[in-house]
């Protein structure tokens, strides 16, 4: 969203723009969810090796992609908050982390539900699975640090630093399957030579990704609006007490 970052720069503008966009995002999310679920569950072929369990992919892969994409956005927002002291970027980072944590948890749990029937195990400590688990801990650490101090600005600062440091984990997750021997198979989608997924399976995958992306924007907007209004309330209260 770099192109309209200035529109988001001040809270008033953000409130206006997000109110304008919210219904559209909601509609897109609902439509993508309906179409995605229809194709994922009813109208897509079974896999030549994995049979019906391929349907877990339509949740697992988009959730894992979102877990990383949200983390990177959070790190960028944190860096902007640290460097330019932009209150709205700090707020964005704060509101992203529960959503990112949810997607990371889903990637792990659906992977586990997929691993049992296909690999023969719920969990192994290979590089891909371990680094994704570390991502969940980073999200939880971020949320914990935000609330760990009496002075919220210190919490924001330390959580921001943790988030930026943790960005090192992102390339490790992505390339773990290429750098080391892992039980997890290499990338199917973002690989050189193009995706190794049949078009009939790419369709539900893309729709579910759109559904998660829309969900992320929707919930992020709702949480940020709520925080901005809450801070307005706090300011009014302070004025009343001291006024």
């Amino acid at each position: 969203m770099a192109f309209n970052i200035n529109a988001f720069a001040n809270p008033k503008r953000f409130m206006w723009l997000s109110a304008l966009l919210l219904p559209w995002v909601a509609v897109i999310t609902v439509l993508a969810t309906a179409a995605g679920l229809y194709f994922a569950l009813f109208d897509s072929p079974v896999d030549y090796q994995q049979g019906e369990t391929v349907r877990i992919m339509y949740i697992h892969v988009p959730a894992a992609t979102m877990s990383i994409a949200i983390y990177v956005s959070m790190a960028i927002a944190s860096a902007m908050g640290l460097i330019w002291k932009h209150p709205l970027s700090d707020l964005a980072a704060k509101c992203m982390s529960p959503i990112g944590a949810a997607f990371t948890f889903l990637a792990l749990i659906t992977g586990s539900l997929w691993g049992k029937p296909m690999w023969g195990t719920w969990w192994v400590w290979d590089a891909r699975l371990t680094s994704e688990l570390l991502l969940l801990f980073l999200y939880m650490g971020h949320m914990a640090l935000l609330n760990a101090f009496d002075d919220p600005s210190r919490g924001t600062k330390s959580a921001g630093i943790l988030c930026i440091v943790g960005v090192i984990n992102v390339p490790i997750i992505k390339f773990s399957v290429d750098w080391w021997n892992t039980l997890h198979q290499p990338a199917s989608l973002m690989k050189s030579g193009g995706p190794a997924i049949h078009p009939d399976m790419l369709l539900p995958l893309g729709l579910m990704w759109l559904c998660f992306m829309g969900y992320f924007v929707l919930v992020l907007f709702i949480r940020m609006r709520s925080e901005i209004i809450a801070s307005k309330v706090r300011a009014l209260r302070l004025r009343q007490v001291h006024g």
């Binding site: 109208d43 030549y48 296909m118 192994v124 960005v167 198979q185 290499p186 199917s188 049949h198």
Partner: protein
């Protein structure tokens, strides 16, 4: 220097330092991070103590899967196309286990044979309907184990292999 610029540089320098540290640590831990060793890597190691748990991975060699005389122990070979290791496993093999398929197995070495107590199936990065896999194999455009990106990109999915809309 303005404070903002200084903070920007601090973040950038910190990230670079961190990246360097991470790269060094990961390189040093290489042997601990790999989930399994290939048969060739096992051959390169001089001695593997009999009490050391070890994981090996590779493909199940075609034609190597048999049952021992007791009727429950599975015998098969794991290969990386250069070297091969024989494995004995008493237990139920996972669904995906078959000849030519990736596998990771863990246990103790007895001489040159791995006495495995765990066998995990690896699956590849390809996703496609069975009809398409069948047709691609028949046309000789693709072999099991290879990525199908090329075959898909070149439109080598024959019309008669397009799955019927009845799933």
């Amino acid at each position: 220097m303005k404070r903002k610029t200084r903070r920007l540089y601090m973040v950038l320098v910190g990230l670079c330092a961190l990246g360097a540290v991470a790269a060094i640590v990961l390189a040093a831990l290489e042997d601990d991070i790999v989930f399994f060793f290939s048969p060739t890597e096992i051959m390169e190691k001089d001695v593997i103590p009999a009490d050391q748990r070890i994981r090996i991975g590779g493909l199940v060699e075609s034609g190597s899967v048999t049952k021992a005389a007791d009727g429950v122990t599975n015998l098969f070979s794991v290969t990386d196309m250069a070297n091969t290791i024989e494995v004995q496993y008493k237990g139920i093999l996972p669904d995906l286990f078959r000849e030519g398929q990736g596998v990771v197995t863990e246990g103790y070495f007895q001489g040159k044979t791995l006495l495995a107590d765990e066998v995990l199936a690896k699956h590849d990065e390809n996703y496609m309907p069975p009809e398409v896999a069948e047709a691609l194999k028949k046309s000789g455009k693709w072999k099991e184990g290879e990525p199908i990106s090329e075959a898909l990109k070149n439109g080598h999915v024959p019309d008669d292999a397009k799955p019927a809309k009845e799933y």
